[in-house]
């Protein structure tokens, strides 16, 4: 960390601080340089942003989207006060793009997809165990009541998904991107489904296979360490939770074709994903440090690039944005409680990067910059679809959680 390595601030440094302040005029934050120089904030500040060295100052002025995160993780930038409130203010002050930006992510081919997954999901099961729930679910939970505990909410999420697609005993499920296997095991254990679950993360698959064996569910659940695009066979359900964000717009048509070739005529499916209201690239710092290759799609993109061209109709959509904000609040509390241990596994920079990523994500959901969509679909020609939503809700989820 280079907190105090820049000597006294020069007139140029002070001009740069004022320029930064002006560029972020609607932010309720106080900016302070390493030697204590500050420009008065125009709004009552919710936080103080301390810029601890010259490098942090000029790089943020150059490209705040990328270098705010870089500065924060290195300690070149520190925030006193409410980081969540400060980031929420950033999102609220940012203009929402009103036109589609014709930006396209690079294609995530089979090998780059594997690299991207490896960089995030193979950080070690021991790391994720420190702050995820008991079932190791690293996706938005569903809180039946806002005061529900995380363990209960993750089980309620899995059950909500099974009910939305009307999962029945003996049905064959293709799961694309299965994490540590909790949902695949849940579908087998609670619903008697037969699941083939794909994942590119070697560490996650090893963990999931061991769980299947320990729980005597390995005759029902097959964990495959491979790209879902290589799946073959015929399935009653195609489920994907938290994977679509890693597909990228270039491969939306491919995903659609895989679903189309995998599902039976009356098959159903569910896509659970972080979404946007406007097509735009993910923040460059998040792409660099946290999720290489990621792109949260809009609902319109999912309809017109994945589902409709492949003959699917949208049956049901639910936006669980505030449930993700709540999930992140739980994860952050657990992460904070384990932060010394995590710093020991990695280092202080890693801890700060992840703190920023988690709190920034929470702010994106509370301010409506990010959405969480669950989309249920079936072939347009299938009339074997749910008649109403009655029975979709899960009042008994809390019982499972306690058992």
């Amino acid at each position: 960390m280079h907190r105090f390595g820049s000597g006294r601030s020069t007139p140029l440094d002070r001009w740069a601080l004022k320029a930064l302040q002006r560029a972020s005029v609607s932010l309720p934050c106080r900016f302070v340089l390493w030697d204590g120089f500050e420009d008065p904030a125009s709004l009552p500040p919710v936080a103080t942003i301390r810029i601890n060295n010259r490098r942090a100052l000029y790089s943020v002025l150059w490209n705040a989207d990328l270098y705010f995160g870089e500065g924060y993780m290195s300690g070149g930038i520190e925030i006193d006060g409410e980081l969540l409130a400060a980031l929420e203010a950033v999102y609220r002050a940012s203009p929402i793009p009103s036109k589609r930006r014709w930006w396209r992510a690079a294609s995530n081919g089979l090998s780059s997809a594997r690299d991207n997954v490896h960089r995030h999901y193979d950080l070690g099961n021991d790391f994720y165990r420190l702050w995820l729930d008991r079932e190791m679910l690293y996706t938005c939970a569903y809180f039946p009541r806002s005061e529900s505990m995380l363990e209960e909410a993750q089980i309620a999420k899995m059950d909500l998904i099974c009910r939305k697609v009307q999962l029945r005993s003996g049905e064959r499920v293709l799961e694309a991107g299965c994490g540590w296997g909790a949902l695949a095991l849940f579908m087998a254990r609670q619903y008697g489904a037969s699941v083939r679950a794909f994942n590119l993360s070697a560490e996650q698959v090893a963990y999931a296979r061991q769980r299947a064996k320990d729980e005597h569910l390995d005759h029902l659940v097959d964990f495959v360490e491979d790209d879902y695009r290589r799946a073959s066979g015929s399935y009653d359900l195609f489920i994907s939770v938290g994977m679509l964000e890693h597909v990228g717009p270039h491969d939306f048509p491919t995903l659609g074709r895989v679903i189309a070739r995998s599902l039976t005529p009356n098959g159903r499916g569910l896509l659970h994903f972080i979404g946007r209201n406007h097509p735009m690239p993910l923040n460059p710092w998040i792409r660099k440090r946290i999720f290489p290759g990621a792109y949260p799609p809009t609902l319109a993109e999912v309809c017109s690039e994945i589902l409709s061209p492949n003959g699917f109709s949208v049956l049901d959509v639910e936006n669980l944005r505030l449930h993700y904000a709540e999930t992140l609040a739980h994860w952050r509390r657990r992460f904070e409680a384990a932060s010394r241990e995590i710093a020991g596994m990695f280092d202080e920079t890693f801890v700060r990067a992840w703190q920023l990523y988690l709190v920034g994500s929470q702010a994106a959901f509370t301010t409506g910059w990010m959405q969480l969509f669950q989309v249920v679909y079936a072939r347009s020609t299938s009339n074997a679809v749910r008649w109403t939503r009655m029975g979709t809700e899960t009042p008994w989820a809390s019982n499972i959680a306690r058992s």
Copy 2:
């Protein structure tokens, strides 16, 4: 009617019949000319299509989308057998467009919108009373159970809408396109809401106003005979049921702006509309004879042209396609029972046109060519949204219907 006015069929007529048969090779229908000449069907036929004169023959060969309907309504074309099954076969045999067609409807300005509405909705309350439910709802019903009666299902639909948007006593509702006023009156009577409801149909507004007076609800419900685009003021809810189909893509941004200027910061809204999976013009015969200016949008168009650009997030979508097929089955039974009376009010051609429109619509819904979407939305920045869907369903709707 010109059923037998073409003499013996010539070699050219017979060639034309064979060309028609070849063009519709995957249709399980038998084609027969006025003098009994027929080409053997390639599939076991579900219906016989009788072409009763030369004009019907060549016009259908020229443009089946338009002239099948013209021929059917004039009696130049008759169908023996299952008309619904025959039309379902037409839809199933039609290739679904895989690419967006860059087609744009003409703008429905204030005066053409009024003309379009007048031509359909001002056919006379006496006419619609003969085959709609008691509440005079001319939009998709919601059948809590598939065997529910139409009266119950229309009430359940109104209640489902109120629950989805969490309507509360004293809230102000703007309704765009209110038909005969049933929903506006329901929201006032059952929920204590204060409703301002817009409609361009003079006959419908007169009927609705009388009902409000008779039920002593005129202090809560204000029926306005005007275009919703002229609405001013601030509302907690913006509801539109079965109106969006008449807006046309040219005016989607206008609709979005009207919603944006009308809703309070924590306002919610619901759009209930006939939709498509692919952007395409409505069948030209339906546009000519039944719904001038109509265009059923895709969910993607609603998201990216109405909601997102105006700062709204989709909260919830439900596809009630099969409920519309069921609604149409009810309407058709009632229409058939009243067909003599309707022929007396208008003429036989009118009856045949409406029979074809109703059965064709039913076939479009049963085959998945048309969708019925209910979309709940709110400003992206509003966190005063429904936490879960619990309590959205309407188990007690049947009690209201019986009371």
